[in-house]
Amino acid sequence: MTEISILVLGIALLAATAWCPARATRMLGALLFGLVLGVVLRFALGVPVALVSAVVAGLLTFRFFPLLVLRRVLFLVPALVLLIYATTLLMYRAPGNPFANERATTPQVEAALRAQYGVPKSASAFFGMYMRRLLVEGTLGPSIKVQGRTVEELIAPAFPVSVALGSLSLLLSVSLGLGLGVVAGLRRNTALDHLSMLLALIGVSLPNFVLGSAAMIVFALWFHWLPVAGWGTLRHVVMPAVALALPNAAIIARLARSGMIDVLQQDYIRTARAKGLPESWVVVRHALRGTLMPVVSFLGPAAAATMTGSFVVEVLFAVPGMGQWFVKGAINRDYSVVLGTAIVYFGLVILFNLLVDLAYAWLDPRLRSSGP
């Protein structure tokens, strides 16, 4: 049970970062940011480049990043570590282990296999070894089930696929959702408004694989306009990206609509009209900024939802993304693969959340502070 207590302690420590004084936050935040950047770049660009970039980035963020963002970094990086720990614990608690399916599982054979692959019996030991290996050697470790390959080798080809699918679908969500929502908000209580919101309601109600399979049947099997499944050309991207985008687009549409309605009731809109501004200026120059705020706040969970949905969509449309590695790894108890994909996913989501924070601060000048 001590592992659980470590977890709880970690959570408490995380919560405690709220009380960290400003200067310390700035220093530690920049430090962690540089560190993470270094570790990540090491994979792609090698040690020396990574080291230099890490230092430079650390100094730059120390000087220029808003305090709010650095506070988030201070929270998020240890949180990522804690997540890795929690995932490790969960895996170890699951029945079975990577070696249970091997032919001869006498204790000696298992012990030998464990030593060979570096998979100790305790979760904490594994965690320690894993983090050390990641920071010092810069590798996600060998896959336990796929002989002779490291995790990064396995997921490297799948990574750009998932990122491409995810980003494209997020982009689609935002454009579709904003477009529909803003128009609905401007033309409140008209037929257009009701119709848009009905569409949004349906989009939010149906699971993406239902919409996806319907699209598959209609566009691929009946009309032959798009390929049924697979990956490789632009036409392959369309249906998976749209299926993934629709639920988020629906939510964004509703947020944009209510945001627009709220903003239009603000006093400064009245002032803008009292100045004689044409309605187009009022909407674009004044109302839009305020409308964007709830949408931007939603982008963090939207990214998470996209990631969640991507598993199902990748399976449905046979897209060779990271999702399949995660599921396979989980079923086969390939700890390294599971952790590797989990880290990449968590990391992406966290990065995205940070970007959203920055965007938020940029959009609303009241949130910016030059920091002590």
């Binding site: 603000q266 006093d267 400064y268 009245r270 002032t271 803008a272 009209r273 009292a274 100045k275 004689g276 501004l277 044409p278 309605e279 200026w281 120059r285 004044h286 900024r289 305020g290 959009l363 609303d364 000048p365 009241r366």
Partner: protein
């Protein structure tokens, strides 16, 4: 010059809600002359703000029905097209509001908000626009360039209101409508803003329609006062006359209910009893103030009194004999 700048005749504004119609403004008429400061006074809900918003047509369209006439010079504003109204707004007639913080766009810098007025109405951009902005800002008592780059939340309340005033003055309007501009400010800042408005009105020969519930403010800045109650005009007079000799029981009661510094302590306050009436679209069968009026009598319930002359330009809507009103003065 007796030619009016703004001529309001029989202005009525009705709001239709799901349950019933509410007539917020009921056949209101008044004038504003060039260079004059006219005060529009009354309790909350008496229709003074609604009246002022009607001039520039700032009501939300589907909800409000406006009838009557509002003439600015030769131009009729009621029923004017959106394009015509836009040309007047911010240009010939400007408006400032009660809460300077929420009246300014929090996401934009001051200079951006000022610049768009100049760009729109005077086709002024770049350095020429900047020069004009700085000129106006110094006129309202904010010297220096740094303020231009600031965001509204970085400025104090008084400064924000000055910015709003500056924004309203950029195009040299003939009429400034000020809807309770000092209500949300501290007393000292209030005095500064009033002083500023007085100075500006003299320099520019600009008229001001000053909406407030505060008779103290009225005495400071208004030449003439119009008192409203339940959507109707109940009295109209020059400021000094009104404050010294109110000719309508409501005005009298308002004056009495204002706590005074020069009266010995220990006296009691004199609030006006009862609540303001619910406004409806139906014609009233009695004087709107009768239920709360300390001078109410038989005839008050027989129908709404008409607006009658009380000598000179004074008007009142009451059947209490003039002699009785003036006799009650100590």
């Amino acid at each position: 010059m007796n030619e009016e700048l703004l001529r309001v005749r029989d202005l009525s504004v009705t709001f239709a809600t799901r349950e019933r119609s509410v007539r917020a403004v009921d056949h209101v008429s008044f004038d504003v002359r060039p260079g004059e400061v006219v005060g529009l006074v009354g309790e909350s809900g008496c229709g003074k703000s609604v009246t002022s918003l009607s001039i520039l047509g700032l009501h939300e369209q589907p909800a409000a029905r406006v009838t009557g006439s509002i003439r600015l010079g030769e131009r009729e504003l009621v029923g004017a097209s959106r394009a015509e109204l836009r040309e007047v707004r911010g240009n010939r007639v400007s408006m400032i509001f009660q809460d300077p913080l929420t009246s300014l766009n929090p996401y934009l810098r001051v200079e951006e908000q000022l610049a768009e007025v100049l760009e729109l109405h005077k086709n002024l951009r770049g350095p020429a626009a900047r020069a004009r902005m700085l000129e106006i800002l110094s006129q309202v008592g904010i010297p220096g360039e740094e303020r231009l780059r600031a965001y509204p939340h970085q400025l104090s309340g008084g400064m924000r209101q000055r910015i709003c005033i500056a924004m309203a003055l950029l195009c040299g309007p003939e009429l400034l409508i000020a809807d309770e501009p000092t209500t949300m400010l501290d007393v000292t800042i209030q005095a500064q803003i009033l002083e500023l408005l007085r100075a500006l009105r003299l320099e520019r020969k600009m008229s001001i329609l000053f909406i407030t519930h505060d008779l103290g403010v009225v005495s400071e800045i208004c030449d003439r006062v119009i008192v409203m109650y339940a959507g109707r005009v109940v009295e109209q007079a020059r400021t000094r006359e009104l404050l010294q000799t109110p000719l309508h029981p409501y005005t009298e009661a308002l004056l009495q209910s204002t706590p005074r510094v020069d009266v010995p302590r220990g006296g009691s306050l004199h609030p006006i009893g009862g609540l303001p009436p619910r406004l409806s679209a139906d014609r009233l069968e009695e004087c709107a103030f009768a239920p709360r009026c300390p001078r109410a009598r038989e005839g008050c319930r027989n129908g709404e009194p008409a607006l009658s002359s009380a000598g000179g330009e004074r008007l009142r809507r009451c059947i209490v004999p003039l002699a009785e009103m003036t006799a009650g003065r100590s």
